[in-house]
Symmetry: C2
């Protein structure tokens, strides 16, 4: 079981900002998952990978694939208090789910 969190590398987010956006996406997708997937993933240590996207359109395309695959997922929009304009799409989380199922959506992306 794993969760993939895809964050935009084109926004110039600082390290702390990036981490907060990734955490937000992670929790939201976790809550979109069923109890069985949640518990299996936690039991295995909450494996996460953080991956790079090049822009907003790529995040939406990946979210569409996740939706078609029936995978838990969540898109994050920043509230815009700091660094970014309000409503900026920053990250997408996919899973927790079986590794190969998540890889069908995010398997071609590079590590952040």
């Amino acid at each position: 079981m794993k969760q993939a969190i895809v964050a935009r590398a084109d926004l110039g987010m600082g390290e702390g900002k990036l981490a907060a956006q990734v955490a937000h996406a992670s929790l939201s997708a976790y809550e979109d998952a069923g109890r069985t997937a949640r518990n299996a993933w936690k039991g295995e240590g909450q494996k996460k990978v953080v991956l790079k996207a090049t822009g907003e359109s790529e995040l939406f395309e990946l979210a569409d694939v996740a939706e078609r695959e029936g995978l838990p997922h969540a898109i994050v929009r920043d509230a815009g208090h700091t660094q970014l304009d309000p409503g900026t799409v920053t990250a997408l989380a996919v899973g927790p789910a079986e590794d190969d199922h998540v890889d069908r959506v995010t398997g071609d992306l590079s590590l952040y």
Copy 2:
């Protein structure tokens, strides 16, 4: 309502690694919180701040304060598959809770 996630700045973690550790701490402390605090925090948009610690001992000291204050909190140890030795303590999350209650623990720290 907010959650503060304190991560070690002395480990030289890469951006993606840092984000994964922060997300892990965030979710674990969230699960340590009661339903009322969880729902109130999510209803306000999951406000998070990512802060710097200088080393392991500082994280443990802050965790002790959070425990005494009765705040939900969680320490993360890395599984050590990449970059870090297994069991390395990397991050602490405190909250979700009222802002001023979280600040009693982490109010003196710098943004990451």
